[in-house]
Amino acid sequence: MTAINEAGPALDAGPAPVGTRKRSARARRRQWGEVTLFAGPAVLVYLLFVLLPVVLAAYYSFFNWNGLGPLERFIGFDNYARVLTDPVFHRSVGNNFFILFLSLLIQGPLAILVALLMNRRLRFRGLLRALIFVPYVLSEVTAGLAWQIMLQSVPPARYGPIDTWLRMIGIENPPAWLADPNIVMWTMFGILTWKYLGLAIILMLAGLAGIPEDLYEAAALDGAGWWKTQWHITVPLLGPTIRIWAFLSIIGSLQLFDLVWIVTGGGPLHASSTMAVYMVEYGLNVTQIGYGSAVAVVLFLISLVVALIYQRFALRRDLQGALTTGVR
């Protein structure tokens, strides 16, 4: 044990300090060199591919611009007025939040339950864990296309595989999964849960692995039952993992694009549109780049505000120290 803790000198440790002043100047230079070497490329990429596009989008959003020719027609906040008053955009925002709340309310508890189950000694546990993770590994386009083909029916001429099975077990008129505007978002949520539950479960399993075994032993000695143990020990100690997962889920819900785009394209009649789908449909595809940029900025601001609020109130405990102290 001790041998591991007391590691030998680092490979790069220099000779004994001789001539301290000269060395400290050199050390500082060396430190700067290392900072440049390690952080430089990342900072450069960040500036060029993250910050610059954000700034450019904000700039374009004040113009009526079709992407061709120079930026000439400055229109102030007109694009923003249009986004914020468009009922289709309102519906898109509503859909994003629909997915966001359903994910937190249903996917989270479901993932914890499955993780608790899989954390026990089970036959084929390794295999089960791998299977649950498979949907997450599949590319969105492949998965989306597969679901689209499985769900889309044109009764009575052609039933998709899922409706065919439902009819075999006696459900003669299955709902129009993708064609009914009142159902399509629930269908999308089902597909999203199938796709991303695996990630949540793996995260929860990792969190569970970090809970010390002796707490459970102590609880067992005190006569706590399984449910009581989970509720009073596992869930509180899983807190940081749950909060990080929820953060990822929130951001993913707000920026949802690819699966929706492939499965429904935002349809029928915009019933499954999201903010990002709206941006591509009304910005890029019709070449109103200025307007699309305004939508992008609104999407960015909504995500930013939600993320900041969440960090302030939910993640504060997990991040305390990491961001406020110990930088040096």
Binding site: L37, P156, V184, P268, Y282
Partner: protein
């Protein structure tokens, strides 16, 4: 240690330099070359969307022939997927300009070519008088303010693709020529147990084309022209078109005349698309452009991956006339694909365009299963169905370009959305021109 850390810093600097160089390279080096070959060598870059066979090899062949006839000229011909070419590659390349811009590339009619001309990207091709004369009326969509900026190489009208076997089984002996006869045919097909008409309303435009058909047959030629010129849609005929369409749809029971769940049905590419339904004989008819034969052929169950043959039962008829409608009786909807030339392209590009538009090349183009534009080249059409479309195109008294292409993507999108909502949602006939006017206000 000294040497080591110095080395490391040097390596770091070098790595950063490489990264910057690579990034800068992205900006500077992306694109073809025009005149920078050594000596008198000229390179012409040519972009098209014929990624499938036989077209891809055909254009390569044409480029090779031109190179052989013109020593010192190199033609760099490249095929790209359509949406990527139209929406990303060409706009970006034109915006970058100079060597990045292709010399010869596809241009889309009306609204789209107009904005490219206004931005100053296109060469005036009015000097190619012989070519322009030989393509006749097909060229009007690429004429901006009296100057020709695009030369179409493929042009045809849309019509109704139908399953002749199902027509026979349903007891339809003659193809309907009026909407009354058309409705009778639809009822007969429904009695047979198939969905009469397939429509990929999930993609918007395939459903919108039904409204376009009613619009060109309800609106007078003058009303259509004025709307296209001023982009105002106040003429009452646009509301009437929607009323007529709705009245026709309401003649039938239940979901007819279209298949169920139209708004979640895509148009192409997958077996559960409207093209796939026609290919699987689950629907009997579909309103589509000339390209539809290839789309259906691909999706016939069990079709080979390479050059699938069109099914024998697949037939074509012009859209029936609406009795008593105010519009031109012989009006048809159609469009085509055309070539445009970049404003700074080398002179040889015009020569290449002339060669591509020659009767010889266009005849061979027709032989690959296409409908050509140059007079005399129609001799190359061997297929009876394509011959029928070519004749229909020539006989049409007025060929109106797809309305969404004509009015540009912004109005086109608003119009198509409103039409789908009218047909399959809770929109009203008044909503369609209203949405178009609203969209026009954002231009």
């Amino acid at each position: 240690m000294n040497t080591r850390s110095t080395l490391r810093i040097a390596a770091g600097v070098a790595a950063t330099g490489l990264a910057i160089g690579a990034l800068a390279g992205c900006a500077a080096g992306g694109g073809g070359t025009d005149n920078d070959g050594n000596g008198d060598e000229v390179t012409i870059t040519w972009w098209h969307n014929g990624t499938g066979e036989p077209l891809k090899s055909f254009w390569e062949e044409v480029a090779a022939e031109f190179e052989a006839d013109n020593p010192g000229v190199k033609v760099d011909v490249q095929a790209f997927q359509n949406e990527e070419l139209q929406r990303t590659l060409i706009p970006n390349a034109l915006q970058a300009g100079g060597d990045a811009a292709p010399d010869l590339f596809m241009v889309w009619a009306e609204g789209e070519i107009k904005s490219q001309v206004e931005a100053g990207y296109l060469k005036d091709l009015s000097g190619l008088t012989d070519v322009i004369e030989s393509i006749g009326g097909a060229g009007t969509g690429w004429n901006v303010d009296g100057k020709q900026y695009g030369i179409p190489y493929r042009f045809g009208i849309e019509g109704i693709w139908y399953n002749a076997d199902l027509f026979e089984q349903a007891g339809i002996t003659e193809t309907p020529t009026t909407f009354t006869e058309f409705s009778e045919a639809i009822n007969k097909l429904a009695d047979l147990g198939v969905a009469p008409i397939g429509v990929g309303a999930g993609d918007g435009w395939p459903a919108a084309h039904w409204w376009y058909q009613f619009a060109i047959k309800t609106c007078s030629e003058d009303a259509l022209k004025e709307a296209a010129d001023t982009l105002t849609f106040d003429d009452p005929c646009f509301v009437e078109a929607g009323e007529n369409l709705k009245a026709w749809m309401d003649e039938f029971d239940g979901d007819l005349p279209f298949q169920q769940n139209p708004t979640s049905t895509p148009a192409q590419s997958v077996p559960n698309s409207s093209a796939g339904l026609l290919a699987a004989q689950s629907t009997a008819m579909e309103l589509m452009g000339t390209w539809h034969r290839g789309e259906v052929a691909k999706l016939v169950p069990g079709a080979p991956a390479d050059n699938p043959p069109a099914p024998e039962w697949l037939a074509w008829m012009p859209v029936p006339d609406i009795e008593g409608a105010a519009g031109a009786p012989g009006a048809a909807l159609g469009s085509g694909d055309a070539w445009g030339v970049y404003v700074d392209a080398p002179e040889e590009t015009l020569k290449l365009l002339e060669y591509i538009s020659s009767v010889d090349v266009q005849t061979r183009f027709a032989e690959t299963g296409e409908i050509p534009t140059v007079a005399g080249a129609e001799a190359g059409i061997t297929d009876p169905v394509l011959k029928q479309i070519a004749e229909g195109t020539v006989n049409a008294e007025l060929v109106v370009t797809w309305l969404d292409t004509q009015y540009g993507p912004v109005i086109g999108k608003a119009m198509n959305d409103a039409i789908v909502n009218l047909m399959f949602g809770n929109g009203s006939p008044e909503d369609v021109p209203q949405a178009m006017n609203d969209a026009a206000a954002t231009l």
